[in-house]
């Protein structure tokens, strides 16, 4: 009986953890801009849509983000600079099936992002109530843009409650290259946690505020749609991207807060990575 006790305690602990941490799969705050590796400064159009990335829907309504900003370092040894971009947010109606839901776009003017270097663009959304799963979801989402090829703060942690720390430049990856990152909860690596990997399979039709109906990949098995990988004991993960386009990485329920408005809260970390074909 004594020998069984540790196992029972472990099992009970795991059960408690599972009960306290409901997870909503396949949701992604998409932060889409056509190109993240810019040769010269230009206006940066961005669409922010809360959806199921691989399937291209259903898309969920998204309240105005709590915060929308970028973090940049002007020069070596300089402190990082945080620039609020919320003034550029415009509400729009995004097609989801036969209905439309609220999504956002922003045309970030060239003057805001004209200096050479890296821009870590961040969306901190309002928690979203997923009725069907009985929990709130809040995804701290990042995409990185580089102007002119001068590297900057791409490899720095911002200190978000839930964050994916890039170990490769997210804007500089050949198809087939391995992308690596570390999942952080309030800056602390999270070992053995799930990371969902989804390809942005339905290109954005920004003229009509919808995703293309036709997907780019027709997967032969459900496990190849929302792929799930695990971090190692150091909280690191790696993934080789087999196709050009956008790959979303989502670490679920890793943030420190687990309750919002009396209901479970999943604080997730999202990072978007662009894979580029080798020139012919």
């Amino acid at each position: 009986m004594k020998l069984k006790l540790p196992g029972l305690v472990f099992g009970a602990a795991l059960g408690t953890l599972a009960a306290a941490s409901p997870v909503a799969y396949a949701h992604f705050v998409v932060m889409y801009t056509p190109q993240t590796a810019l040769l010269r400064a230009s206006d940066v159009p961005m669409h922010i849509v809360f959806t199921h990335a691989f399937a291209g829907g259903p898309t969920m309504p998204m309240a105005k983000p709590q915060r929308f900003y970028y973090v940049k370092r002007a020069g070596r040894g300089e402190p990082t600079e945080e620039v609020d971009l919320s003034q550029y947010l415009e509400e729009l109606q995004w097609q989801s099936g036969d209905a439309t839901v609220t999504a956002w776009k922003a045309n970030i003017p060239r003057n805001e992002m004209r200096s050479l270097g890296d821009y870590q663009v961040v969306v901190e959304p309002e928690p979203y109530l997923e009725h069907s799963e009985g929990l709130y979801i809040q995804q701290f989402s990042k995409v990185m843009i580089n102007v002119g090829g001068v590297p900057g703060n791409w490899g720095e942690t911002l200190g978000l409650p839930a964050e994916i720390h890039a170990l490769n430049k997210p804007y500089a990856n050949w198809v087939g290259g391995v992308f690596r990152g570390i999942v952080l909860s309030d800056g602390i690596p999270v070992p053995f946690t799930q990371v969902e990997v989804e390809y942005l399979n339905h290109p954005l039709d920004v003229a009509n505020n919808r995703f293309d109906e036709q997907g780019l990949i027709d997967p032969p098995h459900p496990s190849l749609e929302a792929m799930v990988i695990m971090t190692n004991e150091l909280g690191e993960f790696s993934f080789s991207m087999p196709k050009a386009g956008w790959w979303g990485f989502a670490a679920l329920t890793v943030g420190p807060e687990s309750e919002y408005m009396g209901m479970p809260l999943s604080q997730d970390a999202i990072l978007w990575v662009q894979a580029t074909d080798l020139p012919e």
């Binding site: 040894g77 090829g149 720390h165």
Partner: protein
């Protein structure tokens, strides 16, 4: 509000220190001295190799923007992240006459008066690292 930190650097130095400590514990003093000398030479050789590799691998990068007040800001850097501070910047007219010159500051930037007429701005970091932005492209 969010304090930035370089997470990976801390991890790397921690691993290196542990490795040195465990080696020192099993070597006698004389062998340790020799080992340290050899390590120093190897590190020196590796450092110079890395330095020369990085010197070959970095690409100069340069661009200028119009500030809308008869001035322009020019910025330079290198693809490997090394600083372009101190690099000479020259504004030249169509005949190659130098109208203005200066050096990039610690952030790799300089503010210059925008001349009238045809001109270009030259980033002059050695012969292999010279770049020119035409005035017409500075918007």
């Amino acid at each position: 509000m969010h304090k930035a930190s370089t997470f990976t650097r801390k991890s790397a130095s921690g691993i290196r220190n542990n490795a040195v400590r465990s080696t020192a514990a099993v070597l006698p003093a004389k062998a340790l001295k020799l080992f340290q000398l050899q390590t120093f030479v190897v590190v020196l050789l590796l450092s110079s190799l890395l330095f020369s590799l990085s010197a070959q691998a970095h690409t100069p990068l340069f661009d200028c923007f119009d500030n809308g007040d008869a001035t322009m800001t020019c910025e330079g850097g290198f693809s490997d992240g090394s600083s372009a501070a101190g690099v000479a910047i020259r504004v030249v007219d169509a005949q190659g006459k130098v109208l203005e010159q200066g050096e990039l500051d610690a952030d790799g930037a300089i503010v210059l008066a925008r001349p009238a007429g045809e001109f270009s701005v030259v980033f002059a970091s050695g012969e292999e690292h010279s770049l020119t932005v035409l005035g017409d492209d500075i918007i």
